[in-house]
Structure formats: C-alpha cells, structure tokens
C-alpha cells in the first residue's frame, strides 16, 4: 500500500460537543460575570471516532436530532469541538444549507463570484469556473437575474453546482439531494460519482438509504450523539433499517424470546407433557449449522422431537419470526397433503427437516420457531425458538429481497 492510501483524509478522534443551553440570553453574560452556573449541558456528540480513508466517501445516517448536523458543522469548522480532535487533510467545500452565501438581490452570476471567493477559489480560475457552473446548473437563461426570483429547485441547482465545481478535496453535503427534480438529482449523483472516481473524499448526510448505498463506501450511524456503527455501507444501512423496523413493534425482541437453550426450564402448565423438542437447528445446504444467513440462500430447518405420551397424532410447523409476536413467514405440515406421520407412541424420536430455498430477508435478525401441533393444528404441544440468526445485509433497500430476472427489449421500428 502506498502512503497516500494509508493517510486518512479525515480523522476524528474522541470528538465530543456539548452545547450550553441558557434559559435567557443574558444568562450567558451573567454567568461570565458572576461565575455561577446558569446553563444546562446538552451533549450533542460524545466520543465519536472514525477515519475516512483518502478518496473514500462516507455517509452519515441516524434519526433526527441524533447529531448528524452538529458533526457536519464540526467537520466544516463553523463549530468548535468541546473535546477531541479533528484532522483534515485537504480543502473542504460544504453544502450545509442551500445557498447560505447567496444574496437574494444579486444575480446568479454575482453570487457565483462571491461564493467562489468564500470557498477560496483562486482568482485566475474564476471565469472558467463560472462557465462550468452555469452550464452544469442549466441556468444560463436566469443567471443574470436576482436569485430571489429563483425557484427552490433553481437555488439548489446553483448552490450544488458551485460547491462541486470548486473541486475541493473533501466535499460535505447535507441533505441536498432531497430537493430538485429527478433529472437534476440524477445529474448530482453522476457528478458525485465522478467526484469519487477522482479519488476525492465525500461526506454525505442523508435520509435516503438508496443514495447512501449508491454513493458511499462507508457509513457512520449516529444514535443519540454516539457512534452506533461504522463500517461498509451495505452492512450498516441494513442494520439501521432493521433497527428502525424493530422500533415499530411494541416489544423489544430480546425480552420476548424465551432462552432457547433451556429446554427443561420451560414453563408448561400441562400435567403431562406430550412431547419434548430435543433440538432445533438451522443449517445451510451443506448441513452445517449457521448463525448468519445470506439473502437468497438455502436453509435447512431441523427439529428432533421425543414423544412422551402415547396416541399422539401430530403436525409439524416452522416459522421465521422477527420477535415472539411478529412472524415473517410460516410453514405448516397440515398444508401438505402427502405428509402423514400416523400415530406415535411414547418413546418415539422423530426428526423433521424442512428445506427452505431463497431466503427473502434482506437484513436484520430473525429466529426460527419449531413446534408440534395436534391434528387440527390449533393446539401446540410444544414449541421452541432457535437462537438469533442474522442476515448478511446486501445492497438495496427494504426488508425483503426476491429472486428476480431482468428482461429488457428494445423496440425497433
């Protein structure tokens, strides 16, 4: 590896930002004079560390108020960290607000010049830059009109064009893509990809998981001011989506699922136990037990049941569960005509396995539930949960993935 590859373009270490919240603006002054505490601390960011390798781009995701914008402002330098270090190698251009530097009464052209000098563009490049910006923003008709007459979309187009045209080493963008029409959004994405190809770094904050995956090599997930996860975008985005899905259900998964291993410690109100599930395992197609599942792969669910009473005539069932309350998919042997176990007697040991192909979950964690029911399928003699299985996240959004084939035909007249 060369030196360049080793050198991070952005290095953040133990970064923390605490805001002092004052009830009245004058409290700040009174505190200064009388040296008594008159503020409440709000910890916007705590112990944030990450590195952006040179030429890589990083997405920042998290709920509203998680501290994303604070982090961006700290990176740009308009806020000072309370503690910790930020090292930045190279020139930064930021798009934190749409046209923050624009003066509404002036023409687009004048604003280009002012913004370019704000961003520190050398004077000799400015005329060529102006041409490029006008061309890219597609605003040549309007460029000599005051920007206050621009629509929001035009405003963003101009701001985006300026920020990317000044060719910074590190580009920081906050939610800029959410505005503007589809055609321009596409142009922006192309432009940002070009930016990546030129081995420049980019920090992108967005709520669009699609854009994050499309544009960012790594993703930083911030939750309540702390780094929840930092890693490859596909993985982090997958976990983030799963986290958000889980929040929607009422119960947290860990509390609901009975401890899988303690087969004997199970609560059972029945006097006589009809059967016991000795084991429940989840294997891949090579019959090897797994805890991690690739989307669209094959799974074999296995269950060994020991019959503890005579005259048991049952059916089997498996289910994929998000939590104890929330099934994803179920499989019942009652639905299949050709399975008939017949009556079992005490002491029989039955092994059941079910082949499931093309697992459709794209992300998250799930459990396998196995059970034995009576003939009607209504009374469950015994059920058992497997331990948690996690899905290796892949590119794409949404909880499910489906096997698909593309056909594209071009119609020639």
């Amino acid at each position: 590896m060369s030196d360049k590859a080793l050198k991070p373009s952005v290095l953040v270490q133990n970064l923390a930002k605490t805001f002092k919240l004052y009830e009245h603006p004058q409290d700040r002054l009174l505190e200064l004079i009388f040296r008594t505490k008159r503020h409440e601390n709000y910890e916007a960011l705590q112990d944030v560390s990450f590195a952006i390798p040179d030429g890589k781009s990083v997405g920042i995701i998290g709920a509203n108020g998680a501290g994303k914008s604070t982090l961006l402002k700290l990176l740009v330098g308009t806020l000072q960290p309370t503690s910790g270090d930020i090292k930045i190698n190279g020139q930064i251009a930021a798009l934190l607000a749409l046209g923050a530097g624009f003066h509404p009464d002036f023409t687009g052209r004048k604003n280009i010049h002012l913004n370019a000098s704000l961003l520190g563009v050398p004077a000799e490049n400015i005329l060529q830059l102006e041409r490029e910006i006008i061309e890219f923003s597609e605003l040549s008709q309007f460029i000599d009109r005051p920007v206050k007459t621009y629509s929001t979309g035009m405003y963003v187009r101009l701001a985006f064009s300026i920020a990317t045209m000044v060719r910074p080493d590190i580009l920081i963008i906050d939610e800029a893509l959410s505005v503007g029409d589809m055609a321009f959004q596409k142009k922006c994405v192309t432009r940002m990809n070009q930016f990546r190809l030129n081995a420049k770094s980019m920090v992108l904050c967005s709520h669009s998981m699609f854009h994050i995956q499309e544009l960012c090599d790594f993703t930083l997930w911030i939750d309540q001011g702390r780094v929840k996860e930092f890693g490859e975008s596909e993985k982090v985005v997958g976990h983030y989506e799963d986290f958000n899905n889980k929040k929607k259900s009422y119960n947290s998964i860990r509390e609901d699922i009975p401890e899988a291993k303690s087969a004997t410690g199970q609560k059972n109100n029945k006097e006589i136990q009809e059967c016991r599930i000795n084991s429940l395992s989840v294997c891949n197609e090579k019959n090897k037990e797994v805890t991690e599942v690739k989307p669209l792969s094959t799974l074999i669910l296995k269950m060994q049941i020991e019959v503890l009473a005579d005259n048991i005539n049952g059916h089997f069932g498996f289910a994929f569960m998000r939590s104890a309350e929330e099934p994803i998919s179920s499989f019942l042997s009652t639905n299949s005509e050709n399975i008939n176990l017949g009556e079992c007697k005490k002491g029989d040991v039955i092994t059941v396995s079910l082949l499931v192909e093309k697992i459709a979950m794209r992300n998250g964690e799930f459990f396998v539930l196995g059970g034995l029911a009576d003939k009607s399928g209504l009374l469950w003699y015994e059920t058992k949960f497997s331990s948690a299985l996690s899905v290796t996240s892949t590119k794409g959004v949404g909880p499910l993935i489906m096997d698909s084939t593309w056909t594209i035909e071009k119609q020639d007249d």
Binding site: P25, R28, Q80, L96, D105
Partner: protein, 270 residues
C-alpha cells in the same frame, strides 16, 4: 501571550490575506444599498444633506451661532459640514455594527470563512459612501479658494479615523452576538456621543475650562478638529494628532483581539 500575538497578527493581515473576499463583500454591501431602491445613491446623500440643512437652520438662523473666529471667518455651514460628514461615516458604521454578524448568521454557521472580513467590509462601506460627500465638499471648497498643501494629509487622518472606527465595530459586533440589547444601547450612545462632540457647536462655546479639558479627550473631537484645522487653516495641532493616533491604535488592536478571541464561539451562539 503567543496566542494573543497570533490572533492580532491574523487580524492585522486580514486585508492582505483575504483581499478578494473583502473586495467582494464590500462591493456586495455597497451596491446592495442602491440595488433595492429606486432612489439609489440619492438616498445615501440625502440623509446627511437634510441633517446639515436642519442643523444649519436651527443653529445658524435661530440660535444665531456666529462663524467661529478660531477658524478664520468661516461660515457656520462650512464649519458644520466639515465636522458632520466624517462623523456621519463613523456613526453609520457603529450603528450598523450591532447587526453585522447577526444578519450574516446563516453564512457564519454554515460556511467556514475568515469572519474577520465582516467588520472590515462593514466599516469600509459607510466610509466609502461618505467619502463621496467629503470629496464633493472639498471640491466645492477648493473652487472657493480654500485649498492648501496640508490637504494631502487628509487621507491619512481619515484613515486613522477609519482604523479607530473599525476597532470599535469589531468590538461591538462580537459583543452583540452575546448581548442583543446592545443594539438599542448603541443607538442611544451614538446620539449622546454626537452631542458631546463639538460638531454642531465650536468647542470654545463651553465656558468652563475644566469641562472643556474633558471634551478634549474625546477622540472624535480630535479627528474633527484636525479636519477643520487642515481644511480651513492649513495647520495641524500636535496634541490632536497624538490623541488620534493613540486612540486609533488602541481601538484597532483591542477590538481586533477581542473579536478574534470570541470568533470560535460564534457558531455556538448564532
């Protein structure tokens, strides 16, 4: 100590290291004064002209303040104008200073740039505007035979006054970020200062020697007195020059230092 030096160093170097940004900001604010209104430059000049006319009417016609013998037999209106035009540049800079950073809050919190160009351009704009008036007045005086060699010093005195103003602007604009009430207070102080400065009256109208000696310590009096001496008499009093230089340097350095010191906190407060 080293950090203080560094801050002041950065402050002093601003016009050199960020020339283009200063130029752009100044041009923007300067032309913004007349792009929005039909009257344009007319309004900028109308305010001082109207004020001068009013004061001339009240003092010269009603109160019968006579031409001031210290400055030859100059008419009161000329005496007034020479003092009033530079004062107006000063008062306008100070008056705008409290909203200088607040108006640009969006920019300061979103874009990283040398914020210290703002007090510089914020002071430059009123001074450029009112230099127009001063130059017109000088042309008029020159035609009427007042011109003398000492006039070449005038730009230097105006520059000293500019430096003095800029220091105060830097001080006030950075404090007003924390203390918004400053806006009202400053407006009040300017009018008090105006009447405590011998602009609409000659200083020798103050009878008491003790009171008059206090008035001499007002730097704005020194500046205005220097203009009058140079323009009307072609001479210069050293004590006024000394006071001007000391005040200009002190204000410029302390204001700049404080501004640079508070600067990192702007993002938190704005």
């Amino acid at each position: 100590m080293f950090i203080t030096f560094q801050l002041v160093h950065e402050w002093i170097l601003t016009p050199i290291s960020h020339t283009r940004l200063v130029k752009n900001f100044t041009r923007q604010d300067f032309s913004a004064q007349f792009t929005a209104s039909v009257g344009g430059v007319f309004w900028l000049l109308l305010t001082p002209i109207a004020n001068i006319t009013i004061y001339a009417f009240v003092f010269s016609y009603i109160f019968k303040v006579r031409a001031v013998e210290d400055f030859g037999e100059t008419s009161f209106v000329l005496f007034l104008m020479i003092g009033y035009l530079p004062w107006f540049a000063f008062a306008e800079s100070i008056g705008k200073s409290t909203s200088l950073l607040l108006d640009k809050a969006a920019l300061i919190t979103k874009v990283k740039f040398p914020v210290q160009v703002l007090p510089l351009s914020g002071t430059l704009v009123p001074y450029l505007t009112h230099t127009i008036g001063i130059v017109l007045l000088l042309i008029y005086l020159a035609i009427n035979g007042y011109a003398n060699v000492m006039w070449v010093i005038l730009p230097a005195i105006l520059f000293l006054q500019f430096i003095f103003t800029m220091g105060l602007v830097a001080l006030l604009c950075s404090l007003s970020v924390f203390l918004r009430d400053l806006q009202q207070l400053v407006a009040l102080l300017i009018s008090v200062w105006f009447f405590l400065t011998p602009i609409i009256y000659p200083i020798n109208m103050i009878q008491s020697d003790v009171v008059r000696s206090y008035f001499l310590w007002n730097p704005m009096h020194s500046f205005i007195n220097l203009y009058r001496e140079i323009i009307l008499l072609g001479e210069i009093s050293v004590i006024n020059l000394q006071i001007s230089i000391v005040f200009a340097a002190t204000s410029y350095l302390i204001g700049g230092w404080l501004f640079m010191k508070i600067r990192p906190a702007f993002g938190d407060v704005l």
